[in-house]
């Protein structure tokens, strides 16, 4: 593929030129295959946001259908003065950052282990992938009832088992969901997303240039030096890619919060809060204003994120 900058003309030129077609028509022929996807996506994703924007300026509660009208910025005022929403902004940030960073670090460590040859490597990789392949609601239910439950969960059950083994009759039986609800949700998400990070990072590790590694080894580079000067620079794009994709999915997480804590005990993130305003309080105007604020916030994050992707993308295009 010819190396080309992102902004310049398309990298390929057609060899055959049919002078009969005007450039304008040729442009539309090129665009035609793209149009269905583009139009579909604009209709299904952009129109609802416009509607959300409009509704956010309305006084509209489904429980009070008679009282419907123009609200001006009243909903927005409520959004910014409502402590519940401010809390859920912070919860969303804490949840996303902690889950992404911890699963990224764990994923990298495990990927480095799996990059070596050892007995049963394929099987260990398969075991590692399993958490990501459990349907998120099922995983959340499993953690809530099967593991965290203070009476019959596996966690306390294991504690009892260990304590009994050593002859003690009073094992600690913490109620994790009440004491550390946030950590409980985070741990479940980390369990699900570490395999995701690991898979992408392992593929990155395996795409290192063997000859370069060999040459560095011959030249006497130590393990740490090889990691620091060859592996890490090579892995940068894979780390960024997995962090970005992980963020996209975890920031919008609804299933775990909904299932494990139902948003209680300070675990309500933005998606859950909006869902509740709309689904439980039926305050359509307020829910929409919350939605608009979230979209604006996401757009700010997305602008940074897209810059990251675009640097990755340039590397790929220039390959």
């Amino acid at each position: 593929m010819t190396a080309s900058a992102l902004t310049t003309t398309p990298p390929r030129s057609t060899a055959t030129r049919r002078p009969a077609i005007s450039p304008r028509r040729a442009g539309w022929i090129r665009r035609a295959p793209l149009m269905p996807a583009l139009i579909f996506l604009i209709i299904v994703t952009q129109l609802p946001f416009i509607a959300t924007l409009v509704i956010s300026f309305l006084r509209w509660n489904a429980l009070d259908p008679g009282d419907r009208g123009w609200a001006g910025f009243a909903n927005y005022k409520e959004v910014f003065t409502d402590s519940r929403l401010r809390e859920s902004v912070i919860t969303t940030i804490v949840l996303t950052v902690s889950v992404v960073l911890i699963s990224l670090a764990l994923g990298l460590g495990i990927a480095l282990l799996l990059d070596r040859k050892f007995f049963g490597r394929g099987l260990v990789r398969t075991l590692m992938i399993a958490p990501f392949l459990i349907v998120p609601v099922a995983a959340a239910l499993l953690f809530k009832h099967g593991i965290y439950n203070p009476v019959y969960g596996l966690f306390n059950g294991t504690l009892t088992g260990i304590w009994h083994t050593f002859g003690s009759q009073n094992p600690p039986q913490p109620d994790i969901l009440t004491i550390h609800p946030k950590i409980a949700v985070e741990a479940e998400l980390i369990w699900q997303w570490t395999p995701f990070m690991m898979l992408i990072l392992l593929a990155g590790l395996q795409s290192r240039d063997g000859e370069v590694m060999e040459a560095a080894h011959v030249d006497g580079a130590g393990n740490w030096q090889m990691f620091r000067y060859i592996t890490l620079p090579h892995m940068r794009r894979y780390l960024e890619l997995s962090a970005l994709l992980g963020t996209i999915f975890i920031i919008a997480n609804f299933d775990s919060v909904f299932t494990i804590t139902s948003g209680g005990l300070g675990t309500a993130n933005l998606p859950y809060t909006i869902y509740e305003t709309f689904y439980a309080s039926h305050d359509y105007g307020l829910a929409s204003a919350q939605g608009v604020v979230v979209v604006v916030g996401s757009l700010i994050i997305a602008t940074f994120a897209l810059r990251v992707v675009s640097s990755l993308f340039e590397e790929e295009v220039g390959r």
Binding site: R12, L34, L41, L114, I134, A138, G146, I274, F278
Partner: protein, 286 residues
């Protein structure tokens, strides 16, 4: 967690370290797998043996949990919701492919002007939280009698997965060497022939990876399904959440349900691990 790791002791110096790291990998892999194993094991226990403290690992196995899940005692059969999930996932995946493959063609093989901008537009829609568009979609569905209709989910899942699919398919189609395309065009090969002989063979692995990812994400989705479906078009994840509220012992039953509902994803993901990686990285890893 007792996995014996056979170690070759012929190379004395490095072998301890190698064995240690291999053992560490095994331990971590097993730890991550324990919840899954626990779920499957519990699903085969009787309810009275499932919720015990300390856990009864060696309790006799039974398929009562599965029998309960499939409705012999509760009455509500999971089959409609499983078929709804299947329909919504397969249907949306097919439409995604029908839209994404031509779009990817127009973004790689014969790229439109400013094709990178188009790519970023596609990705940017993925960064907006779906919950922000939920209310208008709900109101639209309510006013057009589309509520509780699987087709609504098909459309929404298509839009949810289309950006991912376009990115993946583009990265696969970008692998088609332009020189071959030009040579074929000069030799007088028609578009159909070029498609069939050059593009499809290169695109096939990409289509497989894209389908797998789209299927998994649609199958897993719960927020839209929960708000927009009711009795008729309820999907499996929604059915699963409704399953818990029943009183009494339910751990074995829930574990059986969770196992059954995760089974299609587990099987597909295990069978196509390399496709899974390609798909999850939007085609950046091949």
């Amino acid at each position: 967690m007792t996995h014996a790791v056979p170690v070759t002791t012929r190379r004395p110096r490095r072998s301890y370290k190698t064995a240690g790291l291999g053992l560490a990998a095994w331990v971590i892999g097993v730890v991550f797998f324990i919840p899954v194993a626990w779920m499957v094991l519990t699903s085969f226990h009787s309810e009275s043996n499932a919720g015990t403290n300390p856990p009864k690992i060696g309790a006799p196995l039974t398929v009562d949990g599965y029998r309960d899940f499939f409705g012999s005692s509760t009455g509500a059969s999971p089959w409609p919701s499983l078929f709804n999930s299947l329909g919504a996932s397969v249907g949306s995946t097919l439409i995604v492919l029908a839209l994404a493959v031509p779009a990817a063609y127009a973004l790689s093989i014969k790229p439109v002007r400013k094709w990178t901008d188009v790519m970023f537009f596609f990705l940017s829609t993925k960064m907006l939280p779906p919950v922000a568009g939920l209310l208008p979609i709900y109101l639209f569905a309510k006013n057009t009698d589309f509520l509780d209709n699987v087709w609504l989910l098909v459309i929404l899942y298509t839009s949810m997965n289309l950006p991912i699919a376009v990115w993946m398919m583009r990265s696969f189609l970008a692998e088609v060497p332009p020189a071959i395309m030009e040579a074929a065009a000069i030799d007088g090969a028609g578009l159909l022939n070029i498609l069939r002989k050059i593009i499809v063979p290169i695109a096939m692995p990409g289509i497989a990876a894209t389908s797998l990812i789209c299927f998994i994400f649609s199958w897993n989705e719960m927020l839209f399904a929960r708000v927009l479906t009711g009795v008729v078009s309820q999907t499996a994840p929604v059915f699963l959440t409704g399953f818990v509220t029943s009183q009494g012992l339910f751990l074995a039953k829930v574990c059986a349900a969770a196992t059954i509902i995760s089974l299609p994803v587990l099987v597909a993901g295990f069978a196509a691990q390399d496709k899974l990686v390609q798909g999850l990285s939007l085609g950046a890893v091949k």
